[in-house]
């Protein structure tokens, strides 16, 4: 069923009784050409682009819980592409360009809103780094500008930009094409569009073991039985190391809790996204009206999907310093996700020593913004059994050659 205003009108006149589920809940079949482990945004996007660009392949997505119940539904929905190094900038910009047409591509409103993203600088060194990054962005054809404190005061009047604060705002970088998208809609839109192209989406199906014979993947043992697979793509985010261990592999990843929280909904007060590495907080206001605030990662590794309260306290304090006007807003909900942090704050999109087994992981604290791009290049890496040119620098080999892509500065969250 295609969604259209005419369809909404017709269904509305019929009392909204004619809507069908956006995608069918499939039973696993005996085997598939490609099995994707992980039904989050990246996994579903991979399946969608596989189905779109390699129509002959039979594809399934296995999700241990429900669609979009992991990090896809737990992030702070920020989208931007202002990364420092060419390799990362190209990858995230590829994603941003896909974001711009995504609602039409999927026939599903992902509510992508290019309201701009500010990264604040609080010290002279911050400002030098910001200028360097803005220059690098412009050389890579990415929209970026340095904004002065005076200008910031005009653009975001509620922000405290006085010189006497603990961390004075000395300026910011600004990416006008950055913004936010509705994360649930991204998962649902990709799931619906993938299912429409014949992808089986199998929920409540946890992978227990990988069947590997003579260095080649043969299938998977799951909580819903054995599934034969020609190729397997793991897009398991925080649990990537667990899947890798099933293949006898070790990855350069540490899983950490990362927390976020939202305030009670309120009238529009903040029209853009404000991030600060210096004081460890980032804030935007969702279309529903709640302030969405993200914290830094917990220092210890873990799979608990909840972190320590002092990080929430710290992020709230940082945001209140920047926006004293929020001091009476009440926190509504708080949650945590498990992020897989890579030593260079860049992802791994790569084949592995096991033939037919591929990993897309290590997105750490910033994977949401890359969702369509990550899926697109990973689909090509699997479909052509050779890394997509944009994915090549993110090969696992870089941890042997030493060709790391250090994006700690642009990753935006304290590690």
């Amino acid at each position: 069923m295609n969604y259209s205003w005419l369809g909404v009108l017709k269904a509305g006149l019929g009392g909204n009784q004619s809507w069908t589920p956006a995608w069918p809940d499939q039973e696993p079949r005996e085997g598939y050409d490609v099995v994707i482990i992980g039904g989050g945004g990246h996994g579903l996007a991979t399946a969608y682009y596989l189905a779109r660009d390699f129509p002959g392949k039979k594809v399934a997505v296995l999700e241990k819980g429900y669609i979009g119940g992991g990090n896809t539904g737990r992030n702070t929905t920020i989208v931007r592409s202002n990364y420092l190094w060419d390799e990362a900038a190209d990858l995230y910009e590829h994603a941003l360009k896909l974001w711009e047409d995504l609602s039409e591509e999927l026939d599903y409103n992902v509510m992508f809103s290019q309201r701009g993203v500010y990264n604040l600088g609080h010290s002279l060194q911050d400002m030098r780094d910001i200028e360097r990054r803005v220059n690098a962005n412009q050389l890579n054809g990415i929209d970026a500008e340095v904004v002065s404190t005076t200008e910031l005061k005009q653009r975001i009047p509620i922000m405290e930009t006085g010189a006497h604060t603990r961390y004075p705002v000395l300026g910011a970088s600004f990416q006008p094409r950055g913004g936010v998208a509705r994360h649930d809609a991204v998962a649902w839109g990709f799931a619906r569009a993938a299912a429409a192209r014949g992808v089986d989406i199998i929920q409540n199906c946890e992978v227990h073991a990988l069947d590997i014979e003579a260095g080649r993947i043969r299938g998977l043992d799951t909580s819903r039985g054995y599934i034969r697979a020609g190729q397997v793509g793991s897009v398991a985010a925080g649990h990537s190391s667990v899947i890798a261990a099933m293949a006898g592999l070790r990855l350069p990843l540490e899983s950490h809790p990362l927390q976020a929280f939202v305030s009670e909904p309120m009238k529009p007060v903040l029209h853009t996204v404000v991030m600060s590495n210096g004081v460890h907080g980032y804030v935007s206001q969702s279309d529903k009206g709640d302030l969405v605030i993200g914290a830094g990662i917990d220092s210890y590794s873990g799979y608990s999907q909840r972190g320590s309260p002092h990080l929430i306290d710290h992020a709230a304090a940082a945001i209140l310093q920047l926006f004293p006007v929020f001091s009476r807003a009440k926190i509504n909900r708080q949650w945590g996700g498990i992020v897989d942090v890579c030593p260079d704050a860049c992802p791994i999109i790569s084949p592995t020593p096991v033939e037919g087994l591929y990993f897309n992981c290590g997105w750490g604290t910033g994977g949401f913004k890359a969702t369509p791009g990550s899926g697109h290049v990973f689909a090509h890496t699997i479909g052509q059994d050779s890394p997509h040119p944009l994915a090549l620098p993110f090969h696992l080999d870089r941890f042997t050659t030493g060709a790391l892509i250090d994006e700690h500065g642009a990753a935006g969250v304290a590690h």
Binding site: P252, S255, S299, Y300, Y303, P309, F399, T400
Partner: protein, 90 residues
Amino acid sequence: MFLITCPYCGEAREEQEFSYAGEALIKRAPLDSSDAEWGDYLFNRNNTKGPTLEQWQHTLGCRKLFMVERNNVTNDILAIKTFESLRSDS
């Protein structure tokens, strides 16, 4: 949030007082390792789910490093060991 008992100070204190210092007992690769072995030592981690043995430092206390066995799903502390205890075990 959980409490850790420093084996040197002997008191259960908030996790904030300590610094996490990564997986324990990672053996340093020899200097004549291949690139792959060195990369494995430097970057790759087991990143196990469940009980793990890790290093913590009592940063805001005695500043000593020790080992904590923690279930990283429930954050239950299962055991606390000093590095000296390794020496007496062997």
